[in-house]
Subunit: 177 residues, 2 copies
DNA sequence: CCCATATTGTAAGTATACTGTCAATCGGCA
DNA sequence: TGCCGATTGACAGTATACTTACAATATGGG
């Protein structure tokens, strides 16, 4: 009697169903990202800031005088993408870009007064959005998911096109003007 | 002695650190999505298909003769976004769009021979990509994460701008030509 | 049967998120 | 010191992902 496991026969591939999409981690990550952005934008609609713009503001606040390349490493964005984000934040007068005196290539980033105020005021809305994303889960499950996700993102850091390099942010200290 | 919890004093907000970004679920979802796309594209580079295009191919294969609006509900994409995706798949000759006889507004979608072959051949690469995304976790943790994520996406379905409506796919049966 | 209302695909506009490429500039090494 | 390779910000090009708007078409109620 031919045992199924004896020799790897050129067996028929399984039929393709929607499960090939619905149960794939990649699909779930994409869906969850869509949902997260949607919730964020809704909660923060009064501030007209996207999640990406918020992250950039926080990073510039935390690292005043950082340049665009280092900023991209600190929040794990592509340098090209970040260029546009910075432009929009500048046109909304939330940040300033001033040329460095020591390196004529770089432009140093600072929050404006308006930027600091917006950042301070948006925090509670952001917090509400973050809570809402996980709300449907039981509290213990929220912790579990967050822990596993943190772990997975960290361990997969190098697989990303733009790995997070939080340490890079420190390099600009001591240089700047 | 003034108890901290007695009356909601106008207390100082906590200082803003990068943790306001790094520990936020929304940020982790975005990072994980970046990583997932990166791994998918890498594993499937031989096929020149994006994750979104792959999902569309599977759905059209599973629901031959579906129209664009119903397709968007089945894979939870925006209708506008899907228009461009369909265009690209058509220009690669992986799908066909033919006008319906009963409703002059709709265009019915079918895989071409080439599309069916690409879909069949890409499956193993897709599978490898999905495995790689979760690889860094222990097997038990992979199951936990996947279960929680599936649950969360499902429970948050309505929070998304384009909720998944898998049942919609059935409506086109019995109508079509 | 006719018209108000809804649906369908498409298009324009904005915002990520990448890939390249490029000129200006910088830094280290011969 | 002078040049070569690396870095920096900018730009062009592609692909999601959303918004609003619109014309063509369908449908149901009066």
């Amino acid at each position: 009697m031919p045992r199924r496991t004896s020799k790897p026969m050129p067996s028929k591939p399984p039929p393709i169903t929607m499960d090939a999409v619905y149960t794939a981690p990649g699909y779930l990550f994409r869906r969850m990202q869509q949902i997260a952005v949607s919730i964020f934008v809704e909660e923060c609609s009064a501030f007209d800031l996207t999640p990406v713009q918020y992250a950039a503001l926080v990073a510039i606040h935390t690292h005043p005088g950082i340049d665009a390349t280092r900023l991209s490493a600190v929040i794990a964005f592509d340098r090209s993408t970040l260029g546009n984000v910075i432009e929009r934040l500048e046109s909304k007068a939330l940040i300033e870009r001033k040329p460095s005196r020591e390196d004529k290539r770089v432009k140093l980033l600072h929050l404006t007064k308006a930027g600091a105020i917006v950042l301070r005021d948006i925090m509670s809305s952001v917090e509400r959005a973050q809570v809402r994303m996980l709300q449907p889960l039981k509290p213990a499950d929220r912790k579990t998911l967050l822990a596993l996700l943190t772990q997975l993102v960290d361990l997969n850091n190098e697989a990303s096109r733009v790995p997070l390099r939080a340490e890079d942010a420190l390099e600009h200290l001591g240089k700047s003007n």
